[in-house]
């Protein structure tokens, strides 16, 4: 049996990571959750076969923060979209910024969604729940994944 596809969370803030994972678990998302703490680590996991972190399987969903150390979120997104292996993986930008410029470049580089993290944990939890429901249950994935 094929292992349950995992969710790839790219997030530099430990607290946000914990909160996101808590919100996902709270909302009965049972998938594995893999975490990368910066852009470079994320790219290693996705593309770098020489790296010990390299993951053979593709994630079912990528949750991407924009403001990341080393390589920033938009650059990671660009590479995901330009690589034939990953170009169809759904990417949801999950960030604090709601700057128009970030929104525009996010969509321009091929993000599937753009969600702003609310301060209120209730609202945040609701947002994560909606994301999980939509991307993991409702949405039909491209057949190659």
């Amino acid at each position: 049996m094929k292992p349950m596809p995992y969710i790839f969370l790219i997030e530099d803030n430990e607290q946000d990571e914990i909160l996101t994972i808590k919100a996902l678990k709270k909302n009965k998302v049972l998938n594995d959750i893999k975490v990368a703490r910066d852009g470079s680590e994320a790219l290693d996991i996705l593309f770098n076969k020489d790296s010990e972190k390299f993951e053979q399987d593709l994630p079912q969903l990528i949750l991407l923060d924009l403001k990341l150390p080393k390589i920033d979120g938009l650059e990671v997104l660009k590479q995901i979209r330009s690589n034939p292996r990953t170009k169809l993986v759904p990417v949801v930008i999950l960030t604090t910024s709601k700057e128009d410029s970030d929104l525009l470049s996010g969509y321009e580089f091929g993000a599937n969604s753009y969600v702003r993290k609310p301060v209120d944990f209730h609202e945040f939890s609701e947002a994560v729940k909606s994301l999980g429901t939509y991307w993991l249950l409702l949405n039909e994935r491209p057949p190659i994944l």
Partner: protein, 480 residues
């Protein structure tokens, strides 16, 4: 920035020591007008004077002509007298005597006229008087001859004839001299007149040329002075303009930098300040949810306080970001639906609390030219405020419309709410200043600051009027 125009003005003033003094300009203008007029007048007077002198000379010539003519006539009459008398002497026919008498009468009249004409010339006057005497003598002689002939019936003695001839010769001689002298005089006068005319023409031409040249020189000098003044003024003006351009370019550059900094700042505010808040809120919530068995009621209550404080801070940060975004966003003016938009805003509020009784009146025009996004934000704030501050009324009244004030279209939003204290009017449009406590009415105190900023971006003005407990009214204009 405020310093800029003043600085420029003073720098212009310092350089502008040579700038054109209006008084000096007036002086030059006065000189340039009055001097030519005065000189032309002078020239005219001189010209008229010259013409008079020429006329005077001509008159004298004509006078001499008259004297010559009359003298010639007079001598003709003398000759007529002699011819007629000789006729009588030869033929003894008295019919010859008529022309003599006639000529004699006319001679005296004419001789008197000549005397009058030459009154101012003693030698000529003397001559004519002498001729008169001689002629009288001649006539007496002729009368004597006539008497003799009638008495004795034969020709008069020879001596009488000789005497008469002598008199006649004298008369002729004197007359010849008289006329000759007058002719000389006339020729002299004619020459004089000619000379005077020539001189007059020369004087007029000379003066005209002189005055023309003088005026031209003067005009050139004045124009040079003016143009020097103007070029100095122009030079300092263009220097000031250049300076202004430089300063503007510099300031624009500075502003762009500041704006970029501000953008970076608000970006990090939005990103970095909110992230810890989410942590505080999230973990407080997790404590409440997952550790409730280990926490007592007080602890849960305090965690609640933490969360509400954090959330309020989140709202403040968002408001702050929105406020800064208003000044940074591009301003785009277009025709927009106004009346319908305000109705939509009101309906949204109504949906948020359907139980409230609110009389909403809308006299706003259907369309208006403004930045739709910004104006919507402004009206959203104003109408929400009206909605909020009328909460204590049984029946709230909110009215929107337009009036003309000082010739400007002025829009207003009025309500019958709690109003505000005009003593604190200065704080009204300041960000994060509130005239009511949070417990009375919620809000971050950013609303009216946002509205004021939006109106300012439209080059408009905003002001408010209120009486505590009776309601408030906000007015704004949208500059073009």
């Amino acid at each position: 920035m405020q310093q800029l125009p003043k600085k420029l003005l003073s720098s212009f003033g310092n350089r502008g020591e040579h700038y054109v003094d209006p008084r000096e300009f007036k002086k030059i203008l006065f000189q340039a007008t009055v001097l030519p007029i005065a000189l032309s007048l002078l020239l005219s007077i001189l010209f008229i004077q010259q013409v008079y002198i020429v006329l005077e000379e001509n008159h004298k010539v004509r006078h001499s002509d008259e004297v010559i003519y009359s003298g010639t006539e007079a001598i003709k009459l003398v000759i007529d007298s002699e011819t007629a008398f000789r006729g009588y002497v030869i033929s003894a026919n008295e019919s010859y005597l008529g022309p003599w008498v006639k000529a004699r009468e006319r001679f005296y009249v004419l001789a008197d006229e000549i005397s009058k004409l030459v009154q101012d010339n003693p030698s000529q006057l003397k001559d004519i008087e002498e001729v008169k005497t001689l002629y009288t003598g001649w006539n007496e002689n002729a009368e004597g001859t006539l008497q003799y002939r009638r008495k004795y019936g034969r020709a008069s003695p020879d001596e009488m004839i000789v005497a008469r001839k002598a008199i006649m010769d004298s008369i002729r001689k004197i007359f010849d001299e008289f006329i000759e002298r007058e002719r000389d005089l006339r020729n002299k006068r004619w020459a004089e007149a000619e000379k005077t005319s020539r001189e007059a023409v020369l004087v007029i031409i000379g003066l005209g040329i002189f005055l023309g040249v003088a005026l031209a020189v003067m005009s050139i000098m004045q124009l040079r002075r003016l143009s020097k003044n103007y070029s100095t003024a122009y030079a300092s003006l263009s220097a000031a303009t250049e300076h202004l351009e430089e300063t503007v370019a510099l300031r624009t550059h500075e502003l762009t930098l500041v704006n970029k900094e501000l953008e970076a700042f608000s970006y990090s505010v939005s990103h970095d300040l909110r992230a810890p808040l989410r942590g505080i809120d999230g973990f407080s919530q997790i404590l409440v949810e997952e550790y409730s068995d280990k926490l007592d009621g007080e602890a849960v209550k305090y965690l609640g306080f933490i969360r509400s404080g954090v959330q309020r801070m989140g709202v403040l940060i968002d408001d702050l970001i929105n406020l800064s975004r208003l000044t940074r966003s591009e301003f785009r003016k277009e025709d927009m639906e106004l009346s319908q938009m305000t109705l939509d805003i009101f309906n949204e509020l109504k949906q948020s609390d359907p139980t409230r009784k609110v009389e909403f009146t809308n006299f706003l025009p259907q369309t208006i030219s403004a930045d739709p996004g910004l104006l919507r934000a402004a009206l959203q704030n104003l109408i929400s405020n009206a909605w909020k501050y009328t909460r204590t009324k049984d029946v709230a009244v909110i009215e929107l419309g337009q009036i003309y004030k000082d010739g400007k279209v002025t829009y207003y939003v009025k309500d019958n709410g709690v109003g505000f204290d005009m003593r604190f009017y200065e704080k009204l449009f300041q960000p994060f200043q509130r005239l009511h406590t949070k417990e009375q009415f919620e809000g971050s105190g950013i609303g009216l600051a946002t509205v004021a900023r939006i109106i300012r971006r439209h080059n408009g003005t905003i002001w408010g009027e209120s009486e505590l407990g009776k309601g408030s009214a906000f007015y704004f204009t949208l500059g073009v």
